[in-house]
C-alpha cells in the first residue's frame, strides 16, 4: 500500500516506529496530486513548497521525539478557512486575490498538532451549493465517476480524501456540506455540534448554521481529527465552553442495548431504491451490533428545507455585504460609488450566490420580515424541539445522508429547487445545532458510494464515533478505491 493511501492512525504508527517520515508522506501525497489532480480538480491551490518545508521542520521535531497527534499528516483545507499569508478565495471571483493577515482557529490548532497543509480545496462559491459546480475555479469531479459531482459545498475536500490526494481534510457544513459530499465520495465526514469547533476564520455563509468538521478515510481518523479540532475559543461568542472528551476512546466501544431511532418522515420522500436498500441493510447491521431500532417521529421534517432556505440566505445576504470592492478582493472599475458597488457585486459573485443574496434580502426587507424570517425562526424552534423529544426515545438517529447517489455534472444547475432537495436529510441537523456523521454504507450497482448518517444530541460527538465505529467494524463495507 502506498503512503498516500494510508489513514492517519496507520501513518502515525509508522512515524512512531520510525518507518516513515513527514517528508516521505508529503512527497507521496504530492505525487498523487500530480497524478490525479487534473482529472479530479480537488484543489484551488496546492501548497507544494509550503508543505515540503513544513514537513522538513516536522521531521526535525519527530527526530527529537516530539510527536504530535497529526505529525507529518497531509491535511487539505477547504478554501473557506483563512490561512495567513495564503490566498483564501471561498471559491469566488470576488475574493480571488484575498490574502488574510490571520489564520483561522482550526488552522492554528491543526498546525500546532503537527499537520502539514498540502493545499486549499475547491468548493461551491461561498459554500452555496451541493455539487461544487458553482466554484469560480471550475467544478470538482467525483473520483468514483468523473462525469458526476462530488457533492458540495465541500466537494474538493471530500474528493481529495477519496482520491487519496490528502490523508484527511477540513470542510464546513451549513446544511450538509460535509456529510453530503462525504456520502457521495464514500468517506467519513462529521459535522460537530454548533459551538464545538471554532468558527473564527471560517468565512461565514450562514453564521447560525455554519460548523467546521473533518473528512477522513475511517471513523478512527475522524475521532483523531475531532480531538484536535474541538474546543472552546474565546474569539467566538457562540463557542461553548465545555470539556472535550478523548473521542478516540469511543472508537472501540460496542453499542449493545442502544436504541437507534429511525425517523419515519425520512423514508417517505423519493429516495433512490438502491440508497433505500443500503439504509435498510444498515439498520439490520445495527441490530447485529446488539442495538435495537425504534421508530421515531420528527414531525416538522417536511418544513426543514423551507426554513433553511429563508434563514441561510437571510444571514448570507448580510454576511456577504462586506464584499463591496472597498477593502479587499475584486473591484469593478466605476466612476461613481453606487455603480462601483453594483458592478463589483454583479461581476464578483456567481449566479447561485446572487440568487441567495436576493432571497435573503427579500426575506428581511420591510414588510416581509415577519412572514419569512420570523416565521422560519419559529419553525426552527419547533424542529429543534422535535429532536429533543426524539432523543428521549433513542440514543442516536439513523437516516440516509442523501436521497440519491452522486448526480451528473450539469444535471441540476438550472433547477435550484431540485438542487436544494439533495440536502433534504442533512439540513435539519444544522437547524437544530446537533452533530451528525456520514460514513460509507455500500455502493450502487454502478459503483457509486452510498452514505448512512447518524445524528445525536448536542455535544454527543462521542456517541457518533461510538456508533459509527461499531457499524464500520460490523458492516465490513468492501474497501474499494476509485479507479483514477
Amino acid at each position: 500500500m502506498e503512503l498516500y493511501q494510508s489513514t492517519i492512525h496507520e501513518l502515525q504508527d509508522k512515524i512512531k516506529e520510525g518507518k516513515t517520515t513527514a517528508t516521505a508522506i508529503t512527497k507521496s501525497v504530492l505525487q498523487r496530486i500530480d497524478a490525479v489532480e487534473e482529472k479530479v480538480h480537488s484543489y484551488i491551490r496546492v501548497m507544494k513548497d509550503e508543505a515540503l518545508s513544513a514537513a522538513a521542520e516536522a521531521d526535525k521535531e519527530i527526530k527529537k521525539g516530539n510527536i504530535k497527534p497529526l505529525s507529518g499528516i497531509s491535511i487539505a483545507l477547504k478554501d473557506i478557512v483563512c490561512t495567513k499569508g495564503i490566498a483564501t478565495t471561498c471559491g469566488s471571483h470576488i475574493l480571488h486575490n484575498f490574502v488574510p493577515p490571520y489564520d483561522a482557529s482550526v488552522v492554528e490548532k491543526l498546525r500546532a498538532a503537527g499537520a502539514i497543509f498540502v493545499g486549499k480545496t475547491n468548493m461551491d462559491e461561498f459554500a452555496m451549493g451541493s455539487s461544487t459546480e458553482t466554484s469560480y475555479f471550475g467544478p470538482t469531479r467525483n473520483p468514483w465517476d468523473l462525469e458526476r459531482i462530488p457533492g458540495g459545498s465541500s466537494g474538493g475536500s471530500a474528493a481529495a480524501v477519496a482520491a487519496d490526494e490528502c490523508v484527511a481534510s477540513i470542510g464546513s457544513d451549513t446544511g450538509g456540506s460535509i456529510r453530503q459530499p462525504a456520502a457521495l465520495c464514500g468517506i467519513v465526514g462529521m459535522k460537530p455540534t454548533y459551538g464545538r469547533v471554532s468558527r473564527f476564520g471560517l468565512i461565514a455563509f450562514a453564521s447560525s448554521l455554519d460548523q467546521i468538521g473533518p473528512f477522513t478515510k475511517d471513523v478512527e481518523d475522524c475521532a483523531i481529527m475531532m480531538n484536535v479540532l474541538a474546543g472552546y475559543d474565546r474569539r467566538e461568542s457562540t463557542s461553548v465552553n465545555i470539556d472535550v472528551p478523548d473521542y478516540r476512546q469511543f472508537a472501540g466501544r460496542d453499542i449493545k442495548g442502544w436504541k437507534i431511532g429511525i425517523p419515519k418522515e425520512y423514508f417517505v420522500e423519493g429516495i433512490d431504491p438502491e440508497v433505500k436498500a443500503a439504509i435498510e441493510a444498515s439498520i439490520k447491521t445495527m441490530e447485529k451490533c446488539g442495538a435495537q431500532s425504534v421508530e421515531i417521529s420528527l414531525p416538522h421534517t417536511q418544513y426543514c428545507l423551507a426554513v433553511y432556505y429563508i434563514i441561510a440566505p437571510a444571514e448570507a445576504s448580510s454576511n456577504l455585504a462586506r464584499y463591496d470592492g472597498v477593502k479587499y478582493g475584486f473591484r469593478a472599475p466605476a466612476s461613481e460609488l453606487l455603480d462601483m458597488y453594483k458592478k463589483t457585486r454583479m461581476q464578483g459573485f456567481g449566479a447561485e450566490v446572487k440568487r441567495r443574496i436576493m432571497i435573503g434580502t427579500y426575506a428581511l426587507s420591510a414588510g416581509y420580515y415577519d412572514a419569512y424570517y420570523k416565521k422560519a425562526s419559529q419553525v426552527r424552534a419547533l424542529i429543534k424541539k422535535d429532536f429533543e423529544e426524539a432523543f428521549k426515545k433513542c440514543d442516536v438517529i439513523l437516516t440516509p445522508t442523501t436521497p440519491t447517489p452522486a448526480f451528473k455534472i450539469g444535471e441540476k444547475t438550472d433547477n435550484p429547487l431540485q438542487m436544494y432537495l439533495s440536502d433534504i436529510f442533512t439540513i435539519s441537523t444544522n437547524l437544530a445545532g446537533i452533530p451528525g456523521i456520514s460514513l460509507p454504507c455500500g455502493f450502487t450497482k454502478s459503483g457509486l458510494p452510498v452514505g448512512v448518517q447518524f445524528l445525536a444530541g448536542h455535544f454527543q460527538e462521542g456517541k457518533l464515533i461510538q456508533v459509527a465505529s461499531a457499524y464500520e467494524r460490523k458492516a465490513q463495507i468492501e474497501k474499494r478505491r476509485p479507479k483514477l
Partner: protein
C-alpha cells in the same frame, strides 16, 4: 396661529473604554489613519465579534442614572446598509431588544420641574470616517473609528422648544461626564445629537410631520438649528405649505438647515438578530453591583449642596457643573468649614484664572488644602481680604501655599496695637485741620484717617484694629 413645538432627541455618546466594542483595537482619538484597525473592525472575511464587557457596564450606569428599566435580556441586531465607512455592510446595533427602556430625566422649566421621557438606551458600534477630495471625484476612508462603542439615548417627543432641548442635552451631557463613561467632547464627536422636530397648532393632539435634523455639533448649534427649523416650519404652515418628512443638515456658517433630499432613499435596514453575538443577560446582582459603583449624580449633589452648605441654588449649580469642581469645593470646605467663602473664592478668582488659561479644575495649581488655609488666614485676621486677592493670584502662579507667599512678600497683617497707635498718632499730628474738623462734627473725615493709616502701612494694617484705635484716639 399659535404653534407648539415637538422635539425628540437622539443622542450618540461615545463610551470611554480603552478598546472598541467588539475587538481589542484602541479607541484613542487622533491616531494615524487606518492604524487602529484589525481584521475584526475591518470586517475581513471569517472574523467574529466579542463584546467588550465594560461597554455593557457603562451603558447600564447611564440607564440607571436616567431612571431606565434595564431589560433582563437584550440582544444585538444587524442594521444592513452599504456605505464605505461601514466595512461589514452592516452596523451592529440593538433593535427589538435594547439594553434599557422607559426612563426619564428631570429639567427645571420656568421654575418648575418637568420630566422628559427616555424611550430607550442601546449599545452599538460607530462607523468610520469618509473624507471627500475637494478636487477629484473620490473619497478616502479611515476606519479608525469603526467599532468604537456608542450608546444611543432616544428621548420621547416631550421637548417643547429649542431652549428646553439644549437644557436636556446639557443635563444628559453632564450625567455622562459625571459617570466618567464619556468624555463629552462634542468637537471630536464623542457626544452627538440628532433631533426630530415638528410643530402643531396649539391644542392639537396629533403630531405634525417631522424633519430630522443632523450635524449640530455644539449646544449652541443645537439651539440655533432648532430655532431656525421651528421658524422655517412655522413659515411654511402659515403660508399654506406642507412640511415634508425629510432629513435636514444644519449649516453652521449660513445659519440655516438644508434638505438632504435626493441624497438618501427610503430606508430598509433589514434588521435581524446578529447570529455571531449572544444575548446579554443582566440579573439583579449585576445591576446591584453597578448601582453600588455609581457616583452621586449632579441633580442630587446640587440639592445636597443647597441644604448641607446653605448656599444659593445658583452657586450650587455652578459648583456642581463639573464633578471635579464639586469635589474640590467639598475638599476645601472639609478643611475650612466655610462654604460661602470657599464658594466665592472658587467661583470668583480661581475660576477666572482657570478660564483665562483654559484649564480645568483638575489642573488647578492651587490645592484645595491651600485655598482652605488661605480662607482660614483671612478669618483669623492674619491677612485681609484685599491682601488675599494678591495672595491667591500668587498661589495660582507659583503653586505655593499661602504661608509661603505671605512670608516671601511680607504680607502679614499688622495687628500690633502699639505699633498701629504710634502710626495713628503721627498721622493725627500731621493733620491738625482735619482733626479739628472731625471733632467739630465732620464724621465723614473718619474715612480719610483710615486711608492715611492704610497708606502708611501699605495696606497691611488690620482694618478692625485700625477702626477701633482711630475711634478712640480721634475722640480724645
Amino acid at each position: 396661529m399659535e404653534f407648539e413645538t415637538v422635539i425628540g432627541l437622539e443622542v450618540h455618546a461615545q463610551m470611554l473604554t480603552e478598546t472598541k466594542i467588539f475587538c481589542s483595537c484602541s479607541t484613542k482619538f487622533g491616531a494615524a489613519p487606518n492604524s487602529h484597525t484589525c481584521p475584526i473592525c475591518l470586517g475581513m472575511p471569517g472574523v467574529l465579534p466579542v463584546l467588550n464587557k465594560k461597554v455593557v457596564e457603562y451603558a447600564m450606569k447611564m440607564a440607571l442614572a436616567t431612571n431606565c428599566a434595564i431589560n433582563p435580556t437584550c440582544e444585538f441586531a444587524r442594521k444592513n446598509y452599504f456605505y464605505p465607512d461601514l466595512p461589514k455592510g452592516y452596523q451592529i446595533s440593538q433593535y427589538a431588544y435594547p439594553l434599557a427602556e422607559h426612563g426619564w430625566l428631570e429639567l427645571e422649566v420656568n421654575g418648575g420641574k418637568k420630566r422628559i421621557g427616555i424611550t430607550r438606551i442601546h449599545m452599538e458600534e460607530d462607523a468610520g470616517k469618509l473624507l471627500h477630495d475637494e478636487h477629484n471625484p473620490v473619497s478616502y476612508v479611515d476606519l479608525n473609528r469603526t467599532g468604537v462603542p456608542l450608546i444611543e439615548i432616544v428621548s420621547e417627543p416631550d421637548i417643547r422648544g429649542a431652549e428646553e432641548a439644549a437644557d436636556y442635552l446639557k443635563r444628559l451631557h453632564e450625567i455622562l461626564v459625571y459617570l466618567e463613561i464619556c468624555d463629552g467632547n462634542m468637537e471630536e464627536g464623542s457626544f452627538r445629537c440628532d433631533a426630530n422636530v415638528s410643530i402643531r397648532p396649539k391644542g392639537q393632539k396629533e403630531f405634525g410631520t417631522r424633519a430630522e435634523l443632523k450635524n449640530m455639533n455644539s449646544f449652541r448649534n443645537v439651539q440655533r438649528g432648532l430655532e431656525y427649523e421651528i421658524k422655517r416650519q412655522q413659515y411654511i404652515v402659515e403660508n399654506g405649505g406642507t412640511i415634508v418628512q425629510e432629513t435636514r443638515l444644519w449649516d453652521d456658517a449660513q445659519g440655516v438647515t438644508n434638505s438632504m433630499r435626493g441624497k438618501e432613499e427610503a430606508h430598509d435596514y433589514r434588521y435581524f438578530p446578529d447570529p455571531d453575538l449572544v444575548p446579554v443577560i443582566v440579573d439583579e446582582a449585576w445591576i446591584g453591583k453597578i448601582r453600588a459603583d455609581m457616583p452621586e449624580l449632579p441633580q442630587a449633589k446640587r440639592e445636597r449642596f443647597i441644604s448641607e452648605y446653605q448656599i444659593s441654588a445658583y452657586d450650587a449649580g455652578v459648583l456642581t457643573s463639573e464633578k471635579a469642581l464639586a469635589g474640590y469645593f467639598e475638599e476645601v470646605v472639609a478643611i475650612c468649614a466655610k462654604p460661602k467663602q470657599a464658594g466665592n473664592w472658587l467661583m470668583g478668582d480661581v475660576m477666572k484664572f482657570l478660564n483665562e488659561d483654559k484649564k480645568t479644575i483638575r489642573e488647578c495649581p492651587i490645592t484645595a488644602a491651600s485655598l482652605a488655609e488661605m480662607i482660614n488666614l483671612i478669618d483669623a485676621g492674619t491677612i485681609s481680604g484685599k491682601m488675599a486677592k494678591d495672595i491667591v493670584e500668587e498661589m495660582y502662579q507659583s503653586g505655593k501655599n499661602p504661608r509661603e507667599v505671605i512670608a516671601e512678600k511680607g504680607m502679614v497683617q499688622i495687628t500690633d496695637e502699639a505699633a498701629l497707635a504710634k502710626t495713628i498718632s503721627s498721622i493725627i499730628d500731621a493733620n491738625p485741620q482735619q482733626l479739628a474738623d472731625y471733632r467739630a462734627g465732620k464724621e465723614k473725615l473718619f474715612g480719610f484717617f483710615v486711608g492715611q493709616v492704610m497708606k502708611a502701612t501699605q495696606g497691611k494694617a488690620n482694618p478692625q484694629i485700625v477702626n477701633d484705635l482711630l475711634k478712640k484716639m480721634l475722640a480724645k
